[in-house]
């Protein structure tokens, strides 16, 4: 279970302090598929970064399976990300110099997966998201947007994470491809008991999730 309690985040900018999150409190149960919606600048991505231990809150606590992640050291937070969290980004963020399968193997290496079984594991994951053997050996620039997002999802799943944090996963995809990616994430939640938190501004997608949180100016308004 993931529990966010009274979390605030303030950024110091040249123009003064910006309060990205204000006293946010929410709970997500294991295996749930939830969405966070809100306008641009409402604090969605900031909340996702804090949930994934990419950033620390200015105030409040985030408890993941009884562990307060904001109190973890930098190294422990890295380990937390490697083992518990899988990120899916709007821009895919694949390493351009590595092939699709090497991108997935990179996450396996960071997660401490044995070198001897990384290739097979990565191939199986890519196959499960719909990339054939030939496509697996291509570099990201030679894959379509949908294929790159599938590689991104396979990378996120590499270390069997308990949580998938997806930031606008369909934002750069056409509606048909976006639907396929969304269905893939939905299947993960349903079939593998993986908790999926999706940040989106697409109300249609949000409507298909178990619950939706709405962020307005850094505050949760609906649950």
């Amino acid at each position: 279970m993931l529990q966010v309690t009274n979390v605030s985040k303030t950024f110091n900018t040249p123009g003064g302090q910006v309060h990205a999150l204000k006293d946010v409190t929410l709970t997500v149960k294991t295996g749930e598929f939830v969405s966070i919606i809100g306008k641009s600048g409402s604090g969605k991505s900031t909340l996702l970064s804090i949930l994934g231990a990419l950033d620390t809150p200015s105030d409040g606590t985030i408890t993941v399976d009884d562990t307060s992640i904001e109190k973890l050291s930098g190294h422990a937070q890295t380990k937390y990300r490697g083992h518990k969290i899988g990120f899916v980004f709007q821009q895919y963020n694949l390493i351009p110099n590595l092939t699709a399968i090497e991108n997935v193997m990179l996450a396996l290496e960071f997660g401490g997966y044995p070198a001897s079984s990384r290739y097979d594991r990565a191939a199986k994951l890519l196959e499960s998201v719909g990339l054939n053997e030939e496509e697996q050996k291509r570099r990201p620039t030679r894959l379509s947007g949908g294929q790159q997002q599938r590689v991104s999802i396979a990378r996120a799943l590499a270390n069997d994470p308990a949580y998938i944090l997806a930031d606008e996963p369909t934002g750069n995809l056409d509606s048909a491809t976006g639907k396929k990616v969304f269905d893939l994430l939905h299947d993960l939640s349903r079939n593998q008991n993986t908790t999926v938190i999706v940040v989106t501004h697409d109300l249609e997608i949000a409507g298909k999730t178990d619950r939706t949180f709405t962020l307005i100016d850094g505050k949760i308004t609906t649950k």
């Binding site: 991505s45 990419l54 963020n93 193997m105 990179l106 290496e109 960071f110």
Partner: protein, 459 residues
Amino acid sequence: MNVLTRGVKNALRSPLRSGAIVLMFAISIALILSMLVARSSVQAKINEVKATAGTNITIRPAGVMGGMGGGDPLTAEQLATIKSTANVSSTTLTLTDQLGTDDTELESSQELGAFGQRQMRFESSGTTESTTAPEGTATTEQSDRPAPTPRITVTGTNDVNSVSTDGSDLNITSGATIDASGNGLVALVGSTLATKNSLELGDTFTAYGSTVTVSGIYTTDNAFQDSGIIMPLTTLQTLTEQADVVNTVIATVDSSDNVAATVTSLKTALGDDADITSEAESAASSVESLESISSLALAGVIGASIAGAAIVLLAMVMVVRERRREIGVMKAVGGTDGKVVGQFTIEGLTLTLIGTVIGIALGVVVSGPMTTSLVSSQNSTTSTTAAETGRNGRPAGRPGGFAGGVEQINTNLTQVTASLTPQVFIAALGITFLIAIIGSAVPAWLTARVRPAEVLRTE
């Protein structure tokens, strides 16, 4: 694929850029190596020249240049001062004189030639007549001057080997050496003079009205020396009625480290009455050009090292800045600082390693010609200067018949052999290693500072 292979692969991901970085770095390394080789080789030559310069100091009466010039000979009192000067371990005393036709029946074996005749044009005896000019001004004219007769140089010394041109023992081809510390009427005769006058061991000849016995025949590599006579110092002083005086003292100093100080002491003690020079001083002066090359090479090493470090540093900083997103993503998906920094460090080391191999190979090829070029260009400048000063006489330190050593030094200055010694190789590797560390550590530090959230927030 692990950190190592990923680092190596990433280093070569952009062949053009990596090639340019490697090439620039290789040129820096080649320059560093070449300058180190030049410095090392030149320094070895400087040490060699200084070591062979010896510890002798030559003291002559002021104004005397070989057998020419004027001035008073060095007196017994001055000799005592020289001998008592600190660090002077021994002295070789020499008095030279010339036997004319009135002094001996021997014929000189030297052919005067045009040069010799010009030297002696004022010294021939002849009649002169005075005439009175119409205006009443008296003038003197020289007439009926006979052909000049070359004289025979006789050297009185307390060490016959001092006559040797190369510092080695005198080569006695017949008979035995003389007791130079004695006062016997004995002499060593130069081989060409002996041949000219059919002198053999045990023969006698007249000098200054006394009968002198030939104790031995000697030869040197010098035609002038081989036409001379060597006698015990005291004998020549007695025969020429110049008791206790000499015109050359070679003072040997106990250590090369004390030569400069001893020269200073002697100059202070003897003042303007004597001209004092040392081979070490001359050698030091001669190697000034090499020392400037050594300094230039050191500046080159420092400059090339800074350039090499800057190339690697700027290249890696550029790489890290360009790939901040990639670094952020790696950290986001679980990459520890150690693994991410390790990858970028290996990228930097890969480029520096390739650059080092190419640079050292290039350096080995160009270091020889570069050293030769540096030495020859510097010495050609020095030679021009030396030629200008040479109008005033012989090279400093060896005026007169004992010249040769310093000329030899000057000749050898251009003969610097560039050699890549293990010490130089290790020094070059050490500098390269240092550059590689700096070139990798700074990007590593920059990499570690990248916060994944900041990178991903910029989407």
